[in-house]
């Protein structure tokens, strides 16, 4: 497949991206709008192109799936699961344990409208749950936010690299749109993965002391120290792993902040308003955790105004406000329930902001 251009859905691209990255096993529980991921990976089991891909199991529950992932990650294999909102809530237990046990694996949340069953349309309303540690206890997981089918294809490799570098779960946070959208993609030729797991993974313990993967520590002081070491790791990630895209921000007076599918609409708005001479730019966080606080703060220090656009009632805006500080105006445009803002709506909102500012 590398070298070819193919026309596929975002969910299928994510599945093939994982296979191309060296996926060993997938543990599935179906939920709309993510089900093409397990469907693709069920089909590809046994494909000689992916000899390392050995196992696909459809579990009896979301909990069973994430705990099978925990088993597979514990032996240092490249394993993955995917879900959508309601299932992502159920996965939080496993993510909390995994963060403490420092297990590397990939999980995708193809976010739909919530809360509860909501509907099957796109939302970004799992932002809080994804970025703040949705389960119990102090922890973080990496959150990557693709905005195209191409990124759905290429982020699994990025995700596995981060997961094994930091021994931490990595989430790909898509939405019903990035999952269901069909676009042209190209898969790069990737090296065989070669992550060193020998110091911690369980397996054949001949000639070494037992490895114990555990989140329990009854001694308060030891737990304080263990978690302190993990928090240091999070700090290193915040310093080194931030990804974002800036588009025409240099001379912009107003900067739209948007991630995922919304950033695509926002970019079209920037292009169309630039033609009318309005100095506007786009800032797109690619890693939602670690959040690009520093570069966003730098734009604020240059005196720019911000318009935050999300498919929810305002979640990332809290991180944007923290980044830009209280002296900077951050406007908000939110759509939820499966509805996307149109370019025209965004343009009208920006022109109002411009008028108020003038």
């Amino acid at each position: 497949m590398p070298g070819q251009r193919i026309y596929i859905k975002g969910n299928e691209a994510l599945a093939y991206g994982a296979l191309e990255s060296g996926l060993n096993a997938y543990f599935a529980y179906p939920i709309t709008p993510s089900s093409e991921i397990p469907e693709t990976l069920a089909r590809e089991l046994g494909n000689k192109k992916y000899p390392q891909y050995k196992c696909f199991i459809q579990s009896a529950s979301e909990l069973e799936a994430i705990n099978m992932v925990i088993g597979g990650a514990s032996i240092g294999n490249l394993v993955m699961t995917a879900t959508s909102g309601p299932g992502f809530s159920l996965k939080q237990e496993g993510l909390s344990y995994s963060a403490c046990m420092e297990l590397p694996f990939l999980i995708a949340d193809i976010c739909r409208a919530g809360p509860g069953l909501g509907n099957l349309g796109p939302e970004q309303s799992d932002y809080f749950q994804a970025t703040k540690g949705g389960g119990h206890g102090n922890y973080r997981i990496f959150v990557l936010a693709p905005n195209s089918v191409q990124e759905m294809a290429s982020f699994p490799k990025l995700g596995f690299d981060l997961a094994f570098k930091y021994r931490n779960p990595v989430l790909i946070l898509g939405d019903a749109y990035t999952g269901q959208l069909k676009e042209d993609v190209e898969f790069p030729t990737l090296q065989k993965p070669n992550y060193d797991v020998s110091s911690w993974a369980v397996g054949d313990s001949t000639g070494r002391k037992p490895h114990i993967l555990n989140s329990l520590e009854l001694d308060y002081q030891k737990h304080y120290e263990n978690m302190g070491r993990i928090f240091e790791k999070y700090k290193r990630a915040e310093e080194n792993e931030v990804l974002y895209e800036e588009y025409l921000t240099e001379d912009a007076e107003t900067v739209i902040v948007a991630f995922g599918i919304v950033s695509r609409i926002a970019k079209a708005v920037v292009n169309s308003l630039r033609k009318k001479g309005i100095p506007i730019g786009l800032f797109r966080p690619i890693t939602l955790w670690p959040f690009p606080t520093v570069p966003l703060g730098k734009l604020a220090s240059e005196g720019k105004r911000f318009l935050d656009i999300e498919l929810n009632a305002g979640q990332m805006i809290e991180d944007v406000r923290l980044a830009v500080g209280t002296g900077t105006k951050v406007d908000f445009l939110g759509r939820w329930g499966g509805i996307l803002p149109t370019e025209r709506e965004i343009e009208r909102k920006i022109q109002r902001v411009e008028v108020v500012a003038a």
């Binding site: 096993a25 032996i75 490895h211």
Partner: protein, 267 residues
């Protein structure tokens, strides 16, 4: 009694046991099971190839006692974690020790589906009729009328149902290859100068452990349920608790081989 002769271990320590003292309460059979498993791992030369999935409950600290690799699972999820390991590394020996609450209440789905899929793992369930680690609440295996901290007037089947027959249920599942109920409780028998204790139950339990690992090596799912006491939370003296199992509990939970697809019991 000489443990060496009972477990057929040559002089010297059991390699699969660490030297840590256990945290188990006096009279508890968890330590007995740990030792039976360790001795069996030595006998089958499986220690280095074994991954234990520790569950939540009194068994959670087993990683301090069994000298092999461990993954400590969330409450009820040990069979799913075990499946994740075993499906990718079928040459490893993967087993869990779970309490009745872990395996039959919060983790019942995981237990049933591990059996249904014929996952080649071994599950040891300690049935002591109570939630021990949380301080003595009703378990799925609590007998009708039994007093616990959440059934202070005795378990009332009208609202809580009756005790859960794990071996009976799992043996109905076609994917299960070996299901046996054993007891870790010693028996009193009359001797020439008063009562003596027989360890027949422990020998049977040891055999069940060994067969369960053998079944895994043959590619089958095995579950062994062990009757056990919890004198602390039953609020009974140790010997009285053991008598209660041998005289009362055993009537509701008969010992025996419930399923043996490969015929390992006869071998």
């Amino acid at each position: 009694m000489s443990q060496q002769s009972v477990f057929k271990i040559k002089a010297g320590k059991i390699k699969s046991l660490t030297e840590n003292p256990t945290h188990y309460c006096a009279g508890c059979e968890h330590g007995t099971l740990t030792k039976l498993i360790a001795a069996t791992l030595d006998e089958l030369d499986l220690r280095e190839k074994t991954i234990m999935i520790d569950s939540v409950g009194c068994s959670v600290l087993a990683y301090n006692y069994l000298n092999c690799d461990h993954i400590v699972a969330a409450h009820g999820r040990a069979p799913a974690v075990a499946a994740g390991v075993k499906r990718l590394r079928p040459e490893l020996n993967v087993f869990t020790i779970q309490g009745d609450g872990d395996a039959l209440s919060i983790g019942l789905l995981e237990t049933i589906y591990a059996a249904k899929r014929g996952t080649p793992i071994t599950i040891f369930v300690v049935n002591n009729g109570i939630y021990g680690m949380t301080g003595g609440q009703m378990a799925p295996t609590t007998l009708p009328g039994q007093i616990t901290t959440t059934t202070p007037y005795g378990r009332d089947p009208a609202s809580t149902g009756t005790e859960f027959d794990a071996s009976g249920l799992i043996s109905q599942i076609d994917g299960a290859a070996y299901v046996r109920r054993a007891s870790l409780v010693v028996n009193e028998i009359p001797g020439p100068r008063g009562k003596v204790y027989t360890i027949k139950n422990l020998l049977d339990a040891k055999k069940a452990v060994k067969n369960a690992f053998k079944v895994q090596a043959l590619g089958g799912f095995a579950l062994v349920e062990f009757l056990s006491t919890c004198s602390v939370n039953w609020k009974m003296p140790i010997l009285e608790a053991k008598r209660y199992v041998n005289e009362q509990v055993i009537k509701r939970f008969p010992l025996g081989v419930y399923r043996d697809t490969y015929g390992v019991e006869k071998a």
